[in-house]
């Protein structure tokens, strides 16, 4: 099995990747601006709904129920979609998913395809597979277009080009769209994209995209978008191929009333995004004649088996956790080295690969809990992060050896009052060479990371318990 999550198998550790990004002041400025804007809007529109918490509870309950009976719902979806004229395919891993899509594209003799944004395709590396097979994919989401034309990688789930400002976008468009006189107002840039893409929408006969929700009851699909490129791709071409993780399925049509209230408020701070499209199979005279859904596993069923971490699969890809995360705010998505960044990326990416890669990601968090607070489906991300750290410690024993020894030693000290008090005395005495005027400015080894940015106040001469023993002798 070749499970793949973008480039995560070869990406540098979070710590390594973060350092140069922290020095990019343009990126950090864009990040602060973008995340603050969406966070503010999200808070307003979530605050408007008096039943926001009840909606979150309902969404979490629906997702939990779905995961417990995932096989049943997937089979139900397949049956209903097929009856309505769609074709459902199953892909165990990234390679199989790409192979199936490639085959479907070849069946159409297509040399070019339209692409609606889908992280699932990013996960499997579909674009590379297409290009290697001599097929040109055209990204149609504005941000994905910016990323594609700029030979770049997305840095946010919902606003993938937020690391680019207008002048950077103008340069990319000027060069790649051959528009030397292009202005740099967002309106100019958007108009350029509109024209550039319309020609393609009307000409290219095959489109590939993803799905936000697969509806088991009806065999229907729901796509949530803002720009209209989704609508273009699902009505104009002859052939539509969707890649969807097996975690995208929900039981009933009616369940959408919960998710559609939560998703856009959480993702972009809007009460409703401009366009939602729901359809089932194929319609005569309206839309594609050939409709395919490729159900992708690529490591998801592995996460199902871990009851404590299963909630990871409840994610509806809103990106609210990224916007709330104080760590993401500093580094942006590229530091996570994967399709998925931010808090959800930190738990999803390593787990899809059974913790064989991206082991630094569960540590890329101060466990502040802001993500959990805003997650519309109440994924307790801090809890999962702690659980995954436990897996890293247990499964990566040789790599963790030095730290593990230190941790075990400290634990041994904490298991005995005598050892604790001895350790106190050792620390109080041993610090002497490092102390200058009551402060420590340098620490050796790994602890040096502390003193790289901070001072440490010297350990006081008398610990609390020593003071207590002195002053409350009769009490004991």
């Amino acid at each position: 099995m070749t499970i793949r999550v973008g480039e995560s198998a070869t990406a540098p550790s979070f710590q390594k990747a973060a350092l140069p990004l922290l020095g990019d002041s343009q990126l950090r400025k864009n990040l602060r601006h973008a995340t603050e804007v969406i966070q503010r809007r999200r808070a307003v529109v979530a605050g408007e709904l008096p039943d926001w918490q009840a909606l979150r509870d309902a969404a979490a309950a629906v997702k939990q129920k779905t995961l417990r009976h995932l096989d049943r719902y997937l089979v139900q979806f397949e049956a209903a979609c097929t009856v309505a004229g769609g074709q459902v395919h199953w892909a165990r891993d990234a390679e199989e998913a790409n192979r199936i899509v490639l085959e479907l594209v070849r069946q159409q003799n297509a040399g070019e395809v339209l692409k609606i944004k889908t992280m699932t395709a990013d996960e499997t590396g579909l674009n590379q597979a297409l290009e290697q097979a001599g097929i040109r994919p055209y990204e149609t989401d504005l941000a994905e277009l910016i990323v594609q034309l700029g030979n770049d990688r997305p840095s946010h789930i919902v606003v993938p080009a937020l690391h680019r400002n207008r002048s950077q976008v103008r340069e990319i468009f000027r060069e790649r769209m051959q528009l030397p006189d292009l202005g740099d107002s967002p309106q100019d840039l958007t108009d350029a994209a509109r024209q550039y893409l319309r020609e393609k929408f009307l000409r290219v006969k095959t489109a590939i995209g993803g799905a936000n929700f697969l509806i088991a009851e009806t065999g229907g699909v729901c796509i949530v978008e803002s720009e209209g490129n989704g609508r273009m791709c699902l009505t104009l071409p002859e052939t539509l191929i969707l890649m969807a993780g097996v975690d995208k399925v929900i039981p009933r049509f009616q369940d959408l009333e919960v998710f559609l209230q939560l998703l856009s408020r959480s993702a972009t701070g809007e009460r409703m995004n401009p366009y939602n499209s729901i359809w089932t199979g194929v319609y005569a005279g309206d839309g594609p004649r050939n409709f395919h859904v490729v159900l992708v596993d690529n490591g998801r069923t592995g996460i199902l088996a871990d009851e404590e971490a299963r909630q990871t699969l409840e994610c509806i890809r809103c990106g609210a956790c990224l916007n709330a995360c104080p760590v993401y705010r500093q580094t942006g998505g590229h530091a996570y080295g994967s399709t998925y960044g931010g808090p959800i990326g930190a738990i999803l990416t390593p787990q899809l690969q059974n913790m064989e890669h991206a082991q630094s990601l569960p540590y890329a968090s101060s466990l502040c809990g802001a993500c959990y607070e805003v997650c519309p489906v109440k994924i307790n991300i801090p809890e999962v992060l702690i659980h995954l750290r436990g897996r890293v410690v247990r499964e990566q024993q040789s790599a963790m050896k030095p730290e593990a020894l230190g941790m075990k030693a400290i634990a041994a000290v904490f298991r005995s009052r005598r050892r604790l008090e001895a350790a106190h005395r050792l620390a109080q005495a041993g610090q002497a060479p490092l102390v200058r005027k009551g402060w420590i400015h340098w620490l050796p080894g790994e602890l040096g990371a502390w003193t790289a940015a901070r001072d440490l106040r010297a350990i006081p001469k008398q610990s609390f318990r020593e003071w207590w023993k002195e002053t409350h002798r009769d009490a004991e």
Binding site: A18, S366, G390, L420, H424, A453
Partner: protein
Amino acid sequence: MALRRLRMQPLRISLFITCYNDLLFPETGRSVVRLLERLGHRVEFPLEQTCCGQMHYNSGYQTEAMPLMRRFVDVFRGADVVCSPSSSCVAMIRDHYPKMAASTGEPRLIEAVEALLPRVFELTELLVKKLGLEDVGACYPHRVTYHASCHSLRSLHLDDLPLRLLRKVRGIDLVELSNVDRCCGFGGTFAVKNGDVSAAMLAEKMLDVEKTGAEVCTAVDNSCLMHIHGGLHRRRTGIRTVHLAEILASTEAETAQ
């Protein structure tokens, strides 16, 4: 207030100082003792206490944290009330001890945790919720800004308990901190394992603190304060951090000295 003190039965309060406060911030412990005794209560300090296990648990060493949990439950088994000046440690106990006990399948341990938990309080919870106080007779004539630590906010849901106590401190000049609920970047081992990002987060927090013009930054956790103070000291801002307990323990008599 005197009337209130007479009405409130003196409690026997067992102090859980926490491993890091014991060694690094004894003055916080001394302040808690002084404060609670001043309010007429009896403080006990079981010397067998060591650590709640949070650092190990959160870093993935859940196996090593288990004996520390057992020890805590054992040490405080007979306590009427347990009080701790650390919201992160109380959060560890409240959020994780039940699960840890359940994982052992031992009925007596599970029961012991269940019985103990309602008796464990973070300091401001004890003062406001259990003792019904907001004015604890404190005096602290300084310009102070309050940072809301993540555990106090999102695990314990302390809301404005600390601020309610601070507002009743005589002479205090309380200034609001911008982005008060944004993480300072400490995060336990995060500060060392992801030192660069931690420093970047700290830099923003320090900017916010400096903007207030405060002399003192306070919080209910010395973990955050150690990190913030360390940065402020490196930058030679002259701003210091002081645990909330020390502000509340401070009286006119002391400030007059």
